[in-house]
Amino acid sequence: MRNKAVWLRAAAGLSVAALVLSACSQKENTGTGGNEGGEEQAKPSSGWEETPDIEIQEGKQGGTFRLGITEPTAIDPYNAQESEGILVSQQLFTGLIKVDPDGEPLPGVADKWENNEDCTEWTFDLKTGTKFHNGEEVNAEAFKRGWERVAAKKSASEVAYHLAGIEGFDQMQAGTAKALSGVDASDPAKLVVKLTEPNCEFFLRTNHPVYSPVPTTAGDPATNTAFVESPIGNGPFMMDGKWEHDRGIKLKRFDDYGAGDPAYLDTVEITITANGNQDEYAGFENGTFDWARMPVPVLSQARSTYLDQDKWITRNTNGMNYLLVMVTKKPTDSVEARKAISMAINRDEIINSIFQGSQTPATSFVPPVFEDAFQADVCDACEFNLDEAKKLAEEAGLTEGTALTMQFNVDAGHDEWMAAVKDQLETNLGLKISMTSVPFPDLLDNERQPDAAGLYRSAWGADYPTPENFLTPLLSTTAIGAGPTEPATGDNKGRYSNTKFDDLLAEAKSNPDEAERTRLYQEAEKIAIGDDLALIPLWNRTQHRLVNSEKFINARMDFNENPDLSVISVK
């Protein structure tokens, strides 16, 4: 009887597989074409709306929250880098500050922080009596130890550069110093940090895991692998057993958590899956996981199932999808050309037809998650406007048959929408586009080259919750890092350079007044995006999650797009 059921299911599955296969080929047939120019346009869409912010309620202790991730590079803060590693690291460790889902800073181990007048010296007052999971006290020395462990050359941390700007960091990286000369931990309750140049937003950087404190047992990560595999931190959760590579990580609540309210959950089971969001979604559907990311093709269907059940979360997060433009190379070396190209891209149509509404069109470069700095229409050229595009194209000398290159990374789900962009530019402006797809490392390498020209698919997510982390690394002159004949060494690979823009950012950096800084960032964005359109914003980073709201309350996405485990509670 049982057996029969198996084979019935199998037969059903086979027919489903056949349907899926035929659906795939159908999609291919309609993938191109579709865009008939400017005559008749789809109604502008803002994509799916964000789900409302939830109110955090009083929870109760207990329960196990289960989710899937892919295998992280490291869970030890010394080298935690991708969102999976940061997820685990932030449960195990709490730094000086924390941030809420919108990036607003909250006290962590530090109660309050102050800077001197020109923002070159920072003083953090630490909570006393907070403990590591092994009972050791968390004091200023523990922070100094943690930071030096990251900065030391022999640790070879891939993310050490987040500490750049602290006095003594360069010497430690060079291997000529054993300590951070700019960090004073002589008072256990006070951490004093000297910077090599003004940075009025330094405290925001300390939200990154590399700024975590570590206990005396941490030692050198290259030799003390026991700690790296099973770190002892001061966070709301502690390791429950070892990290089982490619299998999972189990966390349990740390009852003596001192840097905030203790967590509600008893345990968190993090299963490491082989196929990323596909497995997470399948696991959510078969009841294995309480939280899941989803592959793009299922988004629409999943939303229609789960939105009404209150199991769906949509948020615009701190990232941006855009086209990198080589602003010093023909044919994109004039503002008019860039604006013509941007205005000839119908973002709404692509979002509706290819993303099924799961993205929201960009109208700025600093994303809406930064409520104060966000300027809703700073990118006027982000609006589809065929007549204007044609006019500007003519001024810029983009004529019928002008050659333009486009490149993107292969096997990452970009084929379809990049083809649509190409199609629109060809139809709308008559450009002759040659588009290639290459492996991701090659894409990054090609972009850096001094003779790189045209458009490249790009995306950016902020490491620190400030608009500055969008503007400086991608658009400032120093972020080119090389002369015009050398490969770029920074992230400003489009080689945009504008002294007025640079000056505004420098001014913001040394301005202790937050409102004033926000204004300066807005002004800078107006220049680089509004006036110069130094890169072409496409759509916001819009993220979707599934959560088991039948069993849990307070489930929300944190600033790093992970479940905010410190507040989730069973019903």
Binding site: E82, G490, D491
Partner: protein, 310 residues
């Protein structure tokens, strides 16, 4: 004989050196593993520290020689991504892959041989036609389709563990291995069935079988004792090759069923530009293959003096 073995051994070493050299150059051409993390450029200072740590600041020939030297002492180094001992990573994955290969072989030999014999004995019967149709289908459908289908329909049912499942759910290895083994076995079983059928038909036509029958031996004895032994030889050869391939890891199937074997490790490492792991796995696969074929050659030479002299 001794001379032949030495010559064959020298050849094997040459093959290993040539293969690793090609691989080394190939990986170098694939690009810089430390240029970026995600979308972000790694600062040049950090890249330099990383290159120094992993010995990539040496010249390419020097790197290759160091690698060869380490290989002989059994030191595979640490991986670029998690900085774990490569030998322990492979050590964890290898038993899983060996179990998978073994179970898959047992399944496909059993199914293939039985189906082949039945099809040969009852030639042109319903069963023969059925075997022909099924084997054609099995060979025609790509393994990943079979895998996806099994995963979606059978996993989580009866004795087959669910995929994905929580890592806290303990599944004994002989259950975990079932679905990936079936997936791998289906195509192989089809090949074996066809081999078996053809070779059985050939043997059944030979004189000594006619003699056996003429002596009045029962059909059962004729088939199982006389025909079977001779007709299984091509199958044994095929199975030998198949084991060699399976031991190198089943890339798609292992990934699909979240099976932590060598194949999945290789897939992951390629995605990460994790050269030390890629080098180690491919070198291992080459070694196994070279060793197996060397043993077979020596065996042949032992059995047939003509090969020794040529």
């Amino acid at each position: 004989m001794g001379k032949f073995v030495i010559r064959r051994l020298a050849q094997a070493i040459m093959v290993v050196i040539a293969a690793t050299l090609l691989l080394f150059i190939g990986l170098f051409v694939l690009g810089d593993p430390f240029a970026s993390t995600g979308d972000k450029v790694v600062p040049p200072e950090t890249q330099e520290i990383l290159r120094e740590k992993f010995g990539l600041d040496q010249s390419l020939p020097m790197q290759y020689l160091t690698y060869l030297g380490n290989l002989f002492t059994g030191d595979l180094g640490i991986d670029f991504n998690q900085r774990r001992e490569v030998s322990s990573m492979i050590g964890d994955a290898l038993p899983a892959t060996a179990r998978l290969a073994l179970v898959a072989i047992i399944i496909d030999v059993f199914i293939g041989v039985v189906a082949g014999i039945v099809a040969a004995i009852f030639r042109y019967s319903f069963w023969d036609v059925l075997v022909t149709i099924l084997t054609t289908l099995a060979i025609g459908i790509p393994t990943f389709v079979i895998g996806i289908w099994l995963r979606q329909t059978v996993s989580g049912v009866w004795i087959f563990p669910g995929v994905p499942r929580s890592f806290t759910e303990v599944v004994p290895w002989y259950q975990e291995v079932l679905l990936p083994a079936f997936t791998l076995a289906i195509v192989d079983a089809a090949f074996i069935a066809r081999l078996m059928r053809g070779s059985m038909l050939e043997v059944l036509r030979t004189d000594y079988i006619r003699t056996a029958r003429a002596k009045g031996l029962g059909e059962r004895t004729v088939i199982l004792k006389h025909a079977f032994r001779n007709s299984i030889i091509p199958v044994v050869t095929y199975v030998g090759i198949s084991i060699g391939i399976l031991m190198g890891g089943a890339l798609i199937t292992e990934t699909l069923f979240q099976y932590n074997g060598v194949g999945f490790l290789l897939v992951k490492s390629i995605g990460q530009n994790n050269n030390p792991v890629i080098m180690a796995i491919v070198t291992f696969a080459v070694l196994i293959y070279v060793l197996l074929s060397m043993v077979v050659d020596i065996l042949y030479a032992y059995l047939d003096p003509r090969i020794r002299l040529s």
